[in-house]
Symmetry: C2
Subunit: 245 residues, 2 copies
Amino acid sequence: MREEILQRLAGLGFLEADARTLADHFLDAEARGKRGHGLSRVEWLETLPGIDPTARPKKVAEAPGYERWDGNGALGYLTLAAIVEAQLASPPADARLVVAQRCFPTGMLGHWARKLADGGLVAVLTATSPPRLAHPEGGPVLAGTNPLAIAVPSSDGRPLVADASMGAVTYGDVIAGLASEEELVPFGGEHAHKAFALAVGLQLLVDSLVVEPGYGTVLLVARPEADPVPALRTRAGGLRLPGDR
Amino acid sequence: MREEILQRLAGLGFLEADARTLADHFLDAEARGKRGHGLSRVEWLETLPGIDPTARPKKVAEAPGYERWDGNGALGYLTLAAIVEAQLASPPADARLVVAQRCFPTGMLGHWARKLADGGLVAVLTATSPPRLAHPEGGPVLAGTNPLAIAVPSSDGRPLVADASMGAVTYGDVIAGLASEEELVPFGGEHAHKAFALAVGLQLLVDSLVVEPGYGTVLLVARPEADPVPALRTRAGGLRLPGDR
């Protein structure tokens, strides 16, 4: 399975290291039941116009506690992978905001946030995507499904990784044939105004922090001062916590 | 009405400036229909043990892009008010993470985030509170209702302020007699696992960043690079957007 994916990605022109990064993401999504971010995306990539497999993301601004990156024509997946690698190689003294403009598609955000938590950093990550959510009262689509992922490292080696999109289903689910476009509404039923508010808030957070318009990501990385995950796992007993397989 | 509240707060020993800060928050919550954070809280404050109306929050750590504060016995409302004032007086060059430990209660987070957006800063704010949300499958309460507020300034003078808690109702609603404790579950119905994941993620985000255990807040403030709110309002037509009255 993995070999076949790697071959297909190589056929699109991706270097071996990039193909491995992409395949790891798609297979992790499948393994976590997020099929909308999984193998269906390989086929989708094959249909995406204008992919430049040799493009490289670049850091365009840097200051203490702040970086801005530009996808520079690279896939969002690979842009986030480069950002994660850079944070692990050079962690912030306390905290750092990393804004990535022209960064799409980004996939299952928990995959990237988990890498940071595995490396000992707290991570909060959101990303925009084409508008698909309308106001609960109707009207035009105003916000992407805009997931929010939060990853917190743990001394027991099992970080907690929350990763929720604001849609009742994801567009990936629609691509994968698991849901219809009509189901692509803010989640929450009678409380859908809450998920809509969060989707719009995250949309404008990203849109207000990028210099180049387009889809982007906002990442906060911070060094933890405490280790609260093991105690939560104890209190939770055997219940499955966010991000557990 | 405002005069009566100010008198009752003065009766609790609060200085006039602090009483005004508190009254403004409670009245704003009432005006926005968030009665659980409104006037019922004045009575609640009168019953809270160990309030020290003369305590002052203090900044305990500072570096580029980072501050940590300690409520130091002051009410969380007043701690957040002091933090907001400090950010407006000395905005970050790009972005700053502000962690506040021993910061409770914090009320309607959108009230504080809005002040930052009114001052031209993007703000993302969360806060923990006593655990009240259990796993959708049952078991002990594991997370507070842990709201997330996102405020984005706008050149039209009308910032967008999203502010949603992860509970189907708030504990404030319970205090105000507007809801029962049984209704205090993660919002979302069949998708309640999403709100639960976000509540747990925000809980551990705060818990991992404070040095002194207890309830706290995490605030991100950033300078905007773009002005996306007016275009969103245009696309939305007359629909009410998050934070509009």
